[in-house]
Symmetry: C2
DNA sequence: AATCAGTTAAATACAGTGTACCGACATGAG
DNA sequence: CTCATGTCGGTACACTGTATTTAACTGATT
């Protein structure tokens, strides 16, 4: 066999950095950020790590579990970094951070609320939230409060992303879209069977998504404030 | 050729009832009701109609479109059958009917809020809703009102179903589950890093899903009522 | 009436998916 | 040195959504 010096000896095949959940999840998140949730396949994740597809099953037991891990990864971005002033600020902050995280990772909208979030980061977020509202009323009332608020922002975020995608698909802004191309919709409105809807589409002005999110959120927070004051109601 | 009487002539092969969207959607809904959304494949839908898979593409152009049609089919069950007393009754009714429809068709939870609902039935529901709140305030405020309420119940329904599935998977009730088996969760709580969460899990009593849904809904409706009274706020 | 066009249905084909399984290889024991 | 053991990678299977090709039937035209 030909002898080689140290210098022309080929680099040992760059032993792929030892695999672990973190690297796998990071790759999956990157893939999803680029091409949406349906661009995440175990094969593509594995390929991005220069590894056979089956290797992943040493660290994950199913694709659903990978999704759960991805969600929890993003919950790290949702964790408040500093103690909130009061419960209201805590809940408002949680809502807005969740929204912003979803804008950074649109695929989160598809997963939000789909399964209970029990990863360590999600638990930390829950803990921080509960700590901020602890003692304001009896446990039941407090729970109802945070669940109501989070039901609101979960639903609102989802709708916002859904609309954003619809706009993107037609290349038109939400309002213009309805009156211009929405081929089906315009025909429907033209039938005269939906006068109230037609009026809204006609009269409504375009509202910034963030302010409409914030407005609805404030309403809900007002409601919660009233109930926290009078826990029996 | 052997002659046959009318009686022993074999039934003509039951020409599969002429295909149309309705039959396709009905089959898909049935499949989803039985085995969840992921049990719906174009091949299985086609098989249930005794038809080759490709036939479907004459009536549907993609699987997503089929999902949209399924959603709209269910919106027919959500349509109010009689004029509501006032706007509050209208919104509350809409929320509850959506919830009940989702309990009949659990897969709806996976689709709710995922894309804008623009089918005829969904539009009819929207129309009825807008008609019930029309004139209570300026268009913007009214829109914010119905969007806030529907964000709430969308999110709440999704979470309810998510929890229900989690319970079902472990065979335990929500609360018992947390303290009993949730292998991960209990270990986490035991670390003492989540005192507020631990307190809630420990002190909280099990609350009926329907009443917690209704309670949160009433809170949100209260908030909306306040804003509709003073549209400028 | 026979042929052909054109439309419709069917079958085949392809590129992918999640994951079960199995055979090779490395490592440690006797 | 041999053998057992257990880990790791690849192959394989059953299935997905959909494009495309082939077959069959219908209706019109010579």
């Amino acid at each position: 066999m030909k002898s080689m010096t140290v210098w022309d000896r080929p680099e040992p095949p760059p032993r792929p950095a030892p695999l672990d959940r973190e690297r796998i999840v990071a790759a999956a998140v990157a893939l999803a950020d680029e091409g949406g949730l349906e661009a995440v396949s175990l094969r593509k994740v594995a390929a991005r790590l220069d590894v056979g597809p089956m290797r992943l099953y040493g660290y994950i037991s199913t694709k659903e579990e990978l999704f759960d891990l991805m969600v929890d990864e993003v919950y790290a971005e949702i964790l408040p970094e500093e103690q909130p002033g009061d419960w209201r600020e805590a809940l408002r902050g949680l809502a807005h951070r969740t929204r912003h995280a979803t804008r950074r990772h649109e695929w989160l909208a598809d997963l939000l609320g789909g399964r209970p979030a029990l990863g360590p980061n999600a638990l930390a977020v829950t803990e921080a939230t509960l700590a901020a509202v602890d003692g304001l009323a009896d446990v039941e009332t407090v729970m109802r409060a945070v669940e109501t608020v989070s039901a609101y922002f979960t639903g609102a975020i989802r709708r916002e992303i859904a609309n954003l995608r619809a706009e993107r698909a037609t290349g038109l802004s939400d309002r213009d879209w309805q009156r211009a191309s929405g081929p089906h919709l315009m025909r429907m409105l033209a039938t005269g069977r939906f006068p109230a809807l037609a009026k809204v589409v006609h009269d409504g002005t375009e509202v910034d998504a963030e302010v409409s999110f914030a407005t609805g959120l404030d309403w809900v927070l007002d409601a919660v404030a009233a109930k926290l004051a009078r826990p029996t109601a």
